[in-house]
Symmetry: C2
Subunit: 246 residues, 2 copies
Amino acid sequence: MRRVKLTIAYDGTNYAGYQVQPNGNTVQAEVETVLAKMHGQAMKVVASGRTDARVHAKGQVIHFDTHLSMPADRFVKALNAMLPDDILVCSAEEVDTSFHARYGAKRKEYRYFIRTDVDPFRRHHAVTVTYALDRERMRQALRSLVGTHDFTSFSVTKSEVVDRVRTIYEAELVEAGDEMYFRFVGSGFLYNQVRIMVGTLMEVGRGKYEPADVSRMLAAKDRRSAGITAPPHGLYLWNVNYKKVD
Amino acid sequence: MRRVKLTIAYDGTNYAGYQVQPNGNTVQAEVETVLAKMHGQAMKVVASGRTDARVHAKGQVIHFDTHLSMPADRFVKALNAMLPDDILVCSAEEVDTSFHARYGAKRKEYRYFIRTDVDPFRRHHAVTVTYALDRERMRQALRSLVGTHDFTSFSVTKSEVVDRVRTIYEAELVEAGDEMYFRFVGSGFLYNQVRIMVGTLMEVGRGKYEPADVSRMLAAKDRRSAGITAPPHGLYLWNVNYKKVD
């Protein structure tokens, strides 16, 4: 058996999320169905992590094992020919069987896109905020999130994860034409963590919280101390990195 | 009665076109339905022209007559609150009752977006061309289209329009990041004219026709002499201008 690593992009608008679920079509189910057709047997893929309904990916990474002998890069064309046009295989490469898309991920990058006007062409791909956002206040608040922290206040309480300590290596607010986006690079993120961080930052930006409140929220280790959960459709899993962090 | 001019944008992906038709939902029907709710009676709107199924608009102009006494700019918020989120009223102003969205239009601008890679996020909003396009050849060909010509070769034969002479004031190919777009400003355009011009230009770009062939195509006054009709989803009605051309 050989292991193949795929980097895929998808528009999450029409999916009930990445992971296979009893109700609703998912990105994982689409990929597994197409792989099953190619292989003549049921196939399982493993992703770096799930993404929620309506969340997008520019660089999700998945792996699967194959008995086919074709060069790994041929999977790009073969899969894209059969996948729906809102899922794209960007690259495929053969990897060592020790590679694991989930457990091997060292860094993940998420971006969250916000715009201040209503644009029907971006309605599924960026969140529109009609109130004024003070970028300097949001940048101040962002600095409190960088580093190694217990992110319990910024995760969903129902999650069963015990260790909620994560490291954020980089966090910035980037202005990009008509839009701005938050960019987070971290060791990994808890369920809904990016959306809760962004929702809180937007509340700092509009004046509901002070930038200094974010440190207090982290210290509280209580979801109720942080702000709202931002909507899913502004969020993109941008990149997953498997190289050791220096 | 007062006349109101609206500038609207819409994502044409989910519509059977602009104009009301027996089958399929249309942009016109959505706007008329919402206006009818506001007015308590059936309402008709007049547009600068129709757009086909899956064609978009950034600046379509329509007008309607109203007995309501509210300031015209209030229609922006009122209509947007009721319209689906793929149609946006950008502005509203009261105009003289001699204003006519269709007959008063002096210049229209269309843009046609092309990209050379596959991007699932732009699948409904730009056309992907995977073959090489020689931009210099397309720019040469573009120059033949500028000016006043009989565009019979670049229009659909079934159309009943008799006078097929139109003027193109400006035509250019613009590189915009990952994409390029053709931009046409003209006195008006025949049915499918922009899509046939773009389809032909792409065939010039890939080497099927020579740039000089475009003049011969115009002279032939025969649809069969020109190239293919480009797909609808790269096309945007960008702007309609009602001021006299100097």
